[in-house]
Symmetry: C2
Subunit: 316 residues, 2 copies
């Protein structure tokens, strides 16, 4: 039995068969049935041990997160996730039942919660690395692109920012740590939010590398600028226990791994957007403007002389 067959075995126990899978794992390719008339959204992301997650991360968290970061990309397009394939590279020291079972459990749990099916994969030997390609569908023209932001749009984010970055920074065990670690290790892709904001948001991106870097992608693709009020950046109760304002801002603007959505929404659609999101907070953090560039302002509206950037992975 190969590692992949092992994973598939653990996986099968937790996943429901999907009617849109004509042929799943086990042949040269999967065969899938996209809903008639819909477009296909495809994304691929690699997580590498020691680079995208710490070496002591639990295998179940690795499995969860490898899928979550891909589903987050689908969410940012407003796509309905359906299927994924898994390319897993691991050392022989990990290719045993206990590690694989735990990895598969984390992966399968998120797949189960979001209703996506594992339909194919490959396992190879090498340093631990997981590449998932996730597929979803959406009605023609419904995609929430990066390029649609318009002057006057409100810049919003879902949830709270900085939790994962703080968890990564702090080794100390304090109250709230468990919450922060869950935000780092088991991020919840904002799939429902992406679906709910189809037709309302002019532009969207998911926050993987930090607000400062990711928002710039929207600004560049849309040919606009933005001003952000730093005191409006939403924070969790656990995060708020961090008192240093400069460090707060650094983690919230540059920390990465939030997997919240950043959206540009016309002001007259904001109420409807909030209604559709229900319990998930949508926080107004700034405005799109015509002048290019990203300006950070303090509570009194004073521009701050800050050169904030998102986390720069090597090459992504």
């Amino acid at each position: 039995m190969t590692e992949f067959e092992l994973i598939q075995r653990y996986f099968a126990a937790q996943s429901a068969p999907r009617a849109d899978v004509a042929l799943g794992v086990g042949d040269d390719t999967a065969v899938l049935r996209p809903p008639p008339g819909e477009e296909l959204a495809v994304t691929t992301d690699t997580l590498i041990e020691g680079r995208h997650f710490p070496r002591d991360t639990a295998p179940g968290d690795v499995g969860w997160k490898a899928l979550a970061v891909n589903l987050s990309d689908l969410a940012a397009m407003g796509a309905q996730p359906r299927w994924f394939v898994l390319a897993l590279t691991l050392e022989p020291s990990r290719a045993h039942d206990a590690w694989l079972a735990a990895f598969a459990e984390g992966l399968a749990r998120l797949a189960y919660e979001t209703g996506v099916a594992l339909v194919g994969g490959d396992t190879t030997r090498g340093a631990l690395s997981i590449t998932i390609t996730a597929l979803g569908t959406l009605p023609p023209g419904a995609a929430l692109r990066r390029s649609g932001a318009r002057v006057g749009d409100v810049v919003c984010v879902t949830g709270t920012l900085g939790d994962a970055a703080l968890a990564l920074r702090s080794a100390s065990a304090t109250a709230g740590d468990e919450y922060l670690r869950a935000r780092l290790n088991r991020p919840a892709p904002r799939i429902e939010a992406g679906l709910a904001l189809r037709g309302l948001a002019n532009a969207a991106i998911d926050l993987s590398d930090g607000l400062a870097g990711d928002l710039r992608h929207i600004l560049q693709a849309s040919g606009v600028g933005a001003e952000i009020e730093i005191d409006t950046l939403p924070m969790s109760a656990a995060f708020a226990r961090l008192h240093d304002p400069a460090e707060r801002l650094r983690l919230q603007a540059c920390g990465g791994d939030d997997y919240e959505l950043c959206l540009c929404i016309p002001p007259d659609r904001l109420t409807q957007a909030r209604t559709r999101l229900g319990a998930l907070p949508l926080t107004e953090i700034g405005r799109i403007r015509g002048e290019p560039g990203l300006v950070w302002r303090d509570a009194r509206g004073k521009p701050l002389n800050l050169d904030l950037h998102g986390y720069r992975h090597f090459g992504d």
Copy 2:
């Protein structure tokens, strides 16, 4: 500019825009338009330096082969390849213009020849590893599955076997080496053959790990056995210069990296299959039978006491 943007730049020069790509590289996901009513075929394969190709392989060959092995899987399903995404992991020592340009050139050349479009990707830092996920489409029910082989079917292979394995073995520079090296480094996925044999072949698989191993996948999936006449295994002129019969058989049956198709075809469809394939040879090498297992026979029909297996990658 990230490595991925660099690759994309080299790539854009050689690729034609496709009408079925609503949104390519550069957003959270690609957005694609599958042809109405068709099913979607999806496959993913990882190549790792030193494991799936020698360390001194030219970067252009690496790029070509990483795509070729995935298109070969689509070919074995009878799918029409359309799109692919690329996850590239590489060391900083490779993340320079010359290496990336050469890599992208090899990748783009095969993409251009086969008409597939790069629609997304990710680059990360680590030991050289390439994961491509390729997508194609096919009419409902047209997939050439592994599970369809029937007793009495003729077992056939396209092209010739053993060339790549011989190239990998021999470091000596002899006549014919260039041909053999091209077979190893720039395999031609049998896309047209897969398309041509829709509706004719009962089962198909692509030969990546060697005939002995890959044919067993068909036999297991179909619940049948087969007998193969070893003297019928097709060989190229360059391969035929190898005189040791045992070594020939080992390379042809267990060598791997052929990327030819192995097909099970009812005898009364064989002429039509050959007509459709045109110049590509289709060689009859054996028969499907009811008794399970794989039997190898010599030219006089005598069963050989051989325990041949395909190349076992770690975990695939």
